[in-house]
Amino acid sequence: MRQVELEVLRYNPETDREPHFQRYAVDCQEEWVVLDALNHVKETLDPTLSYRWSCHMAVCGSCGMMVNGEPKLACKAFLRDYPGVIRVEPLRHFPVERDLVTVIDDFVAKLARVKPYLIPKDKAPEAAEFRQTPAQLKRYKQFTLCINCMLCYAACPEYGLIPKYLGPAAIALAHRWNRDSRDGGRDARQEELAATEGAWECSFVGACSEVCPEHVDPAGAIQQVKIESTVDWYQAHLMPWTKK
């Protein structure tokens, strides 16, 4: 048992004009993560503290927050890795709804725009399922691991500068379906991906891939989208007859 100091950003839109920090001293156990400490605060010290969480095992993607200035899943950030006072803030680049809860409408709308679902190329085989080889699965599997936690948006300086930018996870998820052998929706998704606010706002900082808790490597996906969009462009403008 040891004690840690949490410095948590508080904001109640009904009573506060500005967000402010509040300190809590928490008796914690060695194996606790930041989320355990927050739960302890809410249960024993201050029931008004608001934050999102659900699974406590890095699957649901809802407990993303800034821990000492870095985007982290609160359920994966071990207290023992942080000496001194631990500062906990809502995810950067998103408006604050209340305390650690952010407004995520922008991301959800962008995700919907890239059509992150199967748009079948051929009709599904009669009374059977589509088949894929392990090699075909491997082409996109990594990009399926995204849990929509938005840590990559909090890490991306371009998204901070240009809020219209489609952003890492939405591009990686669009790319996931583009690389699926059953899918035929790439043309429709290109309308978003190949736009200026699509992959082209990315200047390859790479921070998204560094903070991604699921090792999706969205930065890699974005660069692949750029290469494919470049090939498209040269085909459309220099060799229009090759376009189907």
């Binding site: 300086p157 500068l161 290109q190 309308e191 978003e192 190949a194 736009a195 200026t196 606010e197 699509g198 082209w200 200047s203 750029k226 290469i227 969009s229 470049t230 498209d232 462009w233 040269y234």
Partner: protein, 113 residues
Amino acid sequence: MARSNKPIVWGPFATGGTLTAFVTPALVVVTLLAALGAVPDLLAYERLHALAAHGLAKVAIAGVVFLSLWSAAHRLRITCYDLGIRADTLVATIVYAAALAGTGASVFYLLRI
């Protein structure tokens, strides 16, 4: 949404970046060797001069110079934006013009060989 025309400038940038990743270390090694006075016979001035006199070699050298300069120019443009200089069109014009001027100079000197 309209598709972007960014590929025009990004294509040579990406190609140049990949190219310089290979060419630059080789140039560093060769320059160091030359500085130490240990120039392999194959890389002697006369030999390289003769190589550059060949038409295909001229095209290749001009291509390498263009792609490397362009890649550096584009990187500089993005860095300017990230550093807070938001006059993107002006910056782009200056850095790309510099890359093209450098390419023009190399073409000029290559043609005189």
